[in-house]
C-alpha cells in the first residue's frame, strides 16, 4: 500500500511544477505579443526595400549585368546554412524539428556534391552542432533583446559578405521557424545568395508601371542595397524565429500545465483511497479488538 506521506509530498511537488509551467506560459504569451508586434513593424521596411531592389534588378534587362552576389555563382560548391534556434529550452519540438529538417537539407546538398558549412544562432544550435563533424563558421548566442537581435543580424551579414568575397562560400540559405500562428510554426528555408525572387515576380506588374530614375547609378545603388537587403532578411528571420519560439513555448507550457492538472487529480484520487483504506483498516482492528474482549 502506498505511503500516505509520500503521496502528499508527490502531490505538492506536482502542484508547484504546475505553478511554474503556468507562469512560464503567461510570460511566453506576453513575450509573444511583443515579438509579433516587432516582426510586423519590421515588415514595412523589408517590403519597401525588396520593392526597390526588384525594381532595380527588373530594370536591368540583361541579368548578366547583375553582380554575382545577386545571381549566385555558376558551379557553386560550398553552401552555407544559417540555423536560427533558441537560446533556451522548454519550448516543445521547436529546436528538434529544426535540426531534423536541417539534417535532411544537409544530406541533400551533400548528395548534389556540395560541401556544407554551418552558422548557428542561439545556444541550442551551437551546442547541438558542436557534437557533429560539420564545419561551423560562426556561432551567435544571447539574442535576448531587440537591440541585440539587430546587432547579431549585422554581424551575420558582415560575416557572410566576408566569406563570399574570399570565395569560402558560394551559396547562403537561412533556416528558421516561420511564425504561421500561435499554434503552428514551420521550418522554412530562405535563399540569400542567389537571391530568391518570389517577391520580384509578385510585384512585376507594379514595377513595370513606374520607371524610376536612379541616383547614383544602378551599380552603385546595388552595391549599397545588397548588403542592406541581407541585413533586413536576416533580421526578419531572427524576429520570426523569436516569435515562433515564444509561441512554441506557450503551447508546450500550456500542455504541461494541463498534464500536471491531470496528474494531480489522479494522485489525489489515490491519496483519498489510501486514506480511506487506512481508516477502514483501523476500524476493523478496533472492532475485532473489542470483540475479542
Amino acid at each position: 500500500m502506498p505511503n500516505l506521506k509520500e503521496l502528499k509530498n508527490r502531490i505538492s511537488s506536482v502542484k508547484s511544477t504546475r505553478k511554474i509551467t503556468s507562469a512560464m506560459k503567461m510570460v511566453a504569451a506576453s513575450k509573444l505579443r511583443r515579438a509579433q508586434e516587432l516582426a510586423e513593424s519590421s515588415r514595412v521596411y523589408a517590403d519597401s526595400l525588396s520593392f526597390i531592389l526588384s525594381s532595380l534588378a527588373g530594370n536591368t534587362k540583361n541579368s548578366s549585368d547583375l553582380p554575382e552576389i545577386l545571381t549566385g555563382r555558376e558551379n557553386s560548391k560550398i553552401s552555407l546554412l544559417i540555423i536560427n534556434s533558441s537560446d533556451r529550452g522548454l519550448c516543445g519540438g521547436f529546436n528538434s524539428n529544426l535540426f531534423r529538417n536541417a539534417k535532411k537539407w544537409i544530406s541533400d546538398q551533400q548528395g548534389q556534391g556540395k560541401s556544407v558549412k554551418i552558422m548557428t544562432v542561439g545556444k541550442k544550435a551551437s551546442s547541438f552542432y558542436k557534437k557533429t563533424d560539420l564545419d561551423i563558421v560562426a556561432s551567435f548566442e544571447d539574442l535576448n533583446s531587440n537591440d541585440r537581435q539587430l546587432q547579431v543580424s549585422e554581424e551575420i551579414k558582415n560575416k557572410i559578405l566576408e566569406l563570399f568575397e574570399s570565395n569560402e562560400i558560394d551559396e547562403v540559405s537561412i533556416l528558421f521557424n516561420r511564425f504561421v500562428s500561435a499554434i503552428s510554426q514551420e521550418p522554412t528555408y530562405q535563399s540569400l545568395i542567389p537571391l530568391s525572387n518570389e517577391e520580384t515576380i509578385e510585384d512585376e506588374s507594379e514595377v513595370n508601371n513606374a520607371v524610376f530614375e536612379f541616383e547614383p547609378d544602378k551599380n552603385e545603388l546595388l552595391e549599397y542595397l545588397v548588403p542592406r537587403n541581407f541585413l533586413t532578411q536576416i533580421y526578419r528571420s531572427v524576429l520570426e524565429s523569436s516569435a515562433s519560439e515564444h509561441a512554441a513555448r506557450m503551447t508546450s507550457m500550456d500542455n504541461a500545465t494541463r498534464n500536471a492538472g491531470d496528474m494531480i487529480d489522479r494522485l489525489t484520487l489515490t491519496y483519498n483511497r489510501t486514506r480511506q483504506a487506512f481508516i477502514t483498516k483501523e476500524l476493523i482492528e478496533i472492532i475485532s479488538g473489542a470483540e475479542a474482549v
Binding site: 521596411y45 524610376f212 541616383e215 545603388l221
Partner: protein, 121 residues
Amino acid sequence: MINLKVVSPQKVIFEKEVEMAVLPGAEGDFAAMPNHSPFISSLRPGQMAIMSSNKVDESFFVSGGLVMLKEKVCEVLVDQIEPLSDVNNSNYQQSKTYQELEGNETALGTFEQVVNNPPYK
C-alpha cells in the same frame, strides 16, 4: 501635399502629409514635392527638413539610407534619425554611413558642415 513616410528597420517612425521635404541625396540635396518623377536615391548623412510655405517646420539628422519617390508618396528608409537638436559630433561620427566610409570627411563633410549648412536657403 505629399505623403512622407519615414521607416527604420525596426518600425515606422512617422507618416504624415507635408508640403515639401528636403532630403540629402547622395549626389546633392533635392526636394520631394507632389508629382515628382519616380525616383530612387541613396542618402548621405545630413539634414532632412520638412517645410511649408518656405519655412522650415521641423529638421532632422539622417544617418544615411534610401529614398523612393512616387507621385504622391515619399518613402524614406533610414538607418537612424533624430531631431537635429539632439545630435552632436560624437553620435554623428558613430552613424553607420560615417563608419562605413571610415570617417572620410572630405567625401562626407564634417559635423559642422553637415549641421551648419542646411540644404535650404
